[in-house]
C-alpha cells in the first residue's frame, strides 16, 4: 500500500474537520446526552442533542479519539442539525452502508462532507472509529423518544 491509499483514508476535508471540529462543546439548553466509547480502542464521545418537535435543533459533542472518529463526529453533528429525527436515522443507515463499501451515490440526500469518509471502508480496522458518533446519535434519538 502506498501513501496514495492513505490519502483515500485521510482526505483533506477529514483533516480539516479534525483540526477545526465543528460543534465541539456542550449544550446548556434542555438536551439529551449520550456517552459512548469504543471499548477496544478507548475512543470516547459525549453527544448532546437538542430535539424539539421531532427536529434536531442543535448538536454538540465532546470527546477524545483519532482523526477518523473526531472528524466523523464533527461531520455528523453538522449533517443532522435542522433535520427531522427520521431523516437523521436514515442518514445513519446510509453511512453504515457507505462503511460496508456499498454504493450510495443514488441516495436522495445531500451527504456533503460525509462523503469524504467513504475511503474508510477500505480500512476495516478503522470503520468503528467512523461509526462511533453515528451510533451515539441513534442512541440519543432513541432516548429522546423514551422521554
Amino acid at each position: 500500500m502506498s501513501f496514495d491509499n492513505l490519502d483515500t483514508l485521510y482526505r483533506q476535508v477529514i483533516m480539516n474537520h479534525y483540526k477545526n471540529p465543528r460543534n465541539r462543546g456542550t449544550l446548556t439548553e434542555e438536551s439529551v446526552t449520550i456517552d459512548m466509547n469504543n471499548p477496544t480502542c478507548g475512543d470516547r464521545i459525549e453527544l448532546h442533542l437538542q430535539i424539539e418537535n421531532g427536529i434536531v435543533k442543535d448538536a454538540k459533542f465532546e470527546g477524545e479519539g483519532c482523526s477518523i472518529s473526531m472528524s466523523s463526529a464533527s461531520m455528523m453533528t453538522q449533517a443532522i442539525k435542522g433535520k427531522k429525527k427520521d431523516e437523521a436515522i436514515y442518514m445513519s443507515s446510509i453511512f453504515s452502508k457507505m462503511m460496508l463499501g456499498e454504493d450510495v451515490e443514488d441516495v436522495e440526500i445531500d451527504l456533503g462532507d460525509i462523503e469524504a469518509l467513504q475511503g474508510v471502508s477500505k480500512f476495516p480496522a478503522r470503520i468503528k472509529c467512523a461509526t462511533l458518533a453515528w451510533k451515539a446519535m441513534e442512541k440519543a434519538v432513541a432516548a429522546d423518544e423514551e422521554e
Binding site: 500500500m1 502506498s2 501513501f3 491509499n5 492513505l6 483514508l9 485521510y10 483533516m15 479534525y18 483540526k19 477496544t40 480502542c41 478507548g42 475512543d43 470516547r44 477524545e64 479519539g65 483519532c66 482523526s67 477518523i68 480500512f123 480496522a125 478503522r126 472509529c129
Partner: protein
C-alpha cells in the same frame, strides 16, 4: 543468537504486507509461531489424534503420553516441584479466574484485603474486583513511582496483616516494568498473604523459576511464547491447590460419580474438566523445546539490547514521548504530539509495520498516564535492529504526513 536463522523458522515473517516486507512489532499481543510448533500440532492431528486418559487403544495412549509429556516440559521449564502443580488452562485469563473462583471466593471474607498494582492488565484486575464484591474484601493498590515502577517500601506500606491475597504482574504489558516479584512475595508471605503472579508478559522473555520466586500461583499463556492460542498454564503450590475446590465440573475431572454426590480426581486433573486442549498443550511443549534450545538468558539479553537501541532511536524523534522506566522488558509504549496512536498505527501499517494502538487492556493505567490511548511496539527473539530502523522511518513518515495538517 543468529537472528536471521531464527527468522527463517517463522514462515509468517517472510511475507510482504501492503507492498512492504512485514515488520512484526506486536509480540506482546501475541507472538508468531516457529515451524517446529506448527509441525508438532500438525503431526498430532495427522498421526495421534485421540482423546486422553480414557482410550484403551494405541492412539489414546500416544495422545495421553504427549499431553502429559507437555506437562512434564512445563514443570521443568518453570522449575515446579511436581506436575501436580501444572494445570493446563485456556490462557492467563482462565488461569487467574481459576484462582479468583477457586481460592479468593472460597477463602476470603469481609474485612480482608486484596492488594494489586495500578499497572495490571484487565485480566489481573477484574477477577479480583468481582471476588472483592462477592466476599466483601477490599481492594488496595500499591502506589507507583513517576517512572512506572513500584518500590519495596511502597509494597511494605500497602500490605498489612489484613491482606490475604496479592496479585501482581511480573512484567507490565504497557510500560515494560519488571516487578520484583520475588521480594514482593517475601513481604506478602511475612504477612500471611498468598501471591498470584500474572506471568503473561514475563515467561516468554526471561527464565522463570517458581521455586525461587516462591509465589503461590503463576499464570501464563502459550500464545505469547511461540505456542498456539487457546492453551495456558496455572502453576499453583500443591498444598494450596489441594485445599481448593474445582471451578469447572463435568467429565475428566471426576473420581466417583453418584446420583447425589461425586468426588474429584487428584491434582492436576481435578481442575481440568472436559476434554483438555490436547493439541495446544503439545504445541506448548514444542514451543518450550524451541525456546530452551535458544536459551532464555540469550533471549532476554537480545531483547534488552534491542529495547535500549529502540529507546535511543525513538528518543531522537522530536515530539515523541516514551512511557515507562529505563530498565524494562522489550516493550516500548509511546505517543506523538498531534498524531493520535490509531493514526500512527494506520500509517505504519501502510508501510508493512504492525504495532498496537489503544488502551492495551489497561484502562486504569491509561488514566494514571493521563492519556486515552498509546502506541506500542513490542519485540521478541525474531526482531532485530533493522526492524527498529523501519519503525523509526515509519514514525517519521507519519509525522510528515500529519505534520502537513497541523
Amino acid at each position: 543468537m543468529d537472528i536471521q536463522s531464527i527468522r527463517k523458522q517463522f514462515p509468517i515473517l517472510g511475507q510482504e504486507v501492503n507492498g512492504h516486507p512485514l515488520v512484526y512489532l506486536d509480540s506482546a499481543a501475541t507472538s508468531q509461531k516457529p515451524v517446529s510448533v506448527l509441525e508438532a500440532v500438525d503431526a498430532y492431528y495427522k498421526l495421534n489424534n485421540s482423546n486422553v486418559h480414557r482410550g484403551v487403544h494405541t492412539l489414546g495412549t500416544r495422545a495421553t503420553d504427549q499431553y502429559e509429556g507437555a506437562r512434564e516440559k512445563v514443570k521443568h521449564f518453570i522449575n515446579a516441584a511436581s506436575t501436580a502443580e501444572i494445570i493446563f488452562t485456556r490462557g492467563t485469563t482462565t488461569s487467574l479466574n481459576t484462582v479468583a473462583y477457586g481460592y479468593a471466593r472460597q477463602f476470603l471474607k469481609a474485612g480482608d484485603e486484596i492488594v494489586l498494582t495500578q499497572m495490571e492488565h484487565h485480566s489481573n484486575l477484574i477477577p479480583w474486583q468481582q471476588a472483592a464484591k462477592f466476599t466483601g474484601a477490599t481492594l488496595k493498590y500499591i502506589p507507583m513511582e513517576a517512572d512506572g515502577t513500584i518500590t519495596l517500601e511502597a509494597v511494605r506500606q500497602t500490605i498489612t496483616e489484613q491482606t490475604k491475597l496479592v496479585a501482581v504482574t511480573h512484567v507490565s504489558n504497557v510500560l515494560g516494568t519488571i516487578n520484583p516479584v520475588k521480594e514482593i512475595t517475601q513481604i506478602a508471605h511475612e504477612k500471611g498473604a498468598v501471591v498470584v503472579v500474572d506471568g503473561a508478559q514475563g515467561i516468554p522473555h526471561m527464565k522463570v523459576d517458581v521455586t525461587d520466586l516462591d509465589c503461590d500461583f503463576y499464570a501464563f499463556s502459550g500464545h505469547k511464547m511461540c505456542a498456539p492460542t487457546g492453551i495456558g498454564v496455572l502453576y499453583g503450590k500443591k498444598a494450596i491447590l489441594e485445599k481448593m475446590e474445582p471451578v469447572e465440573f463435568g467429565g475428566e475431572m471426576i473420581d466417583f460419580v453418584d446420583l447425589y454426590d461425586s468426588t474429584w480426581k487428584e491434582l492436576p486433573w481435578k481442575f481440568e474438566g472436559g476434554t483438555p486442549i490436547i493439541a495446544g498443550a503439545i504445541g506448548l511443549g514444542a514451543a518450550i523445546d524451541f525456546l530452551e534450545n535458544i536459551g532464555m538468558d540469550n533471549i532476554l539479553a537480545h531483547e534488552q539490547q534491542l529495547v535500549q537501541y529502540a529507546i535511543e532511536q525513538l528518543s531522537a524523534i522530536e515530539g515523541l514521548k516514551i512511557f515507562g522506566p529505563e530498565r524494562r522488558s522489550g516493550v516500548l509504549t509511546f505517543n506523538m504530539d498531534q498524531v493520535h496512536p490509531h493514526d500512527t498505527a494506520t500509517v505504519l501499517d501502510a508501510e508493512g509495520i504492525a504495532i498496537r494502538a489503544g488502551h492495551h487492556c489497561a484502562q486504569p493505567l491509561m488514566k494514571w498516564l493521563e492519556v486515552t490511548a498509546t502506541a506500542r511496539a513490542s519485540f521478541y527473539l525474531y526482531n532485530d535492529e533493522s526492524d527498529i530502523d523501519r519503525l523509526v522511518e515509519g514514525i517519521q513518515r507519519a509525522k510528515e504526513y500529519f505534520g502537513d495538517v497541523f
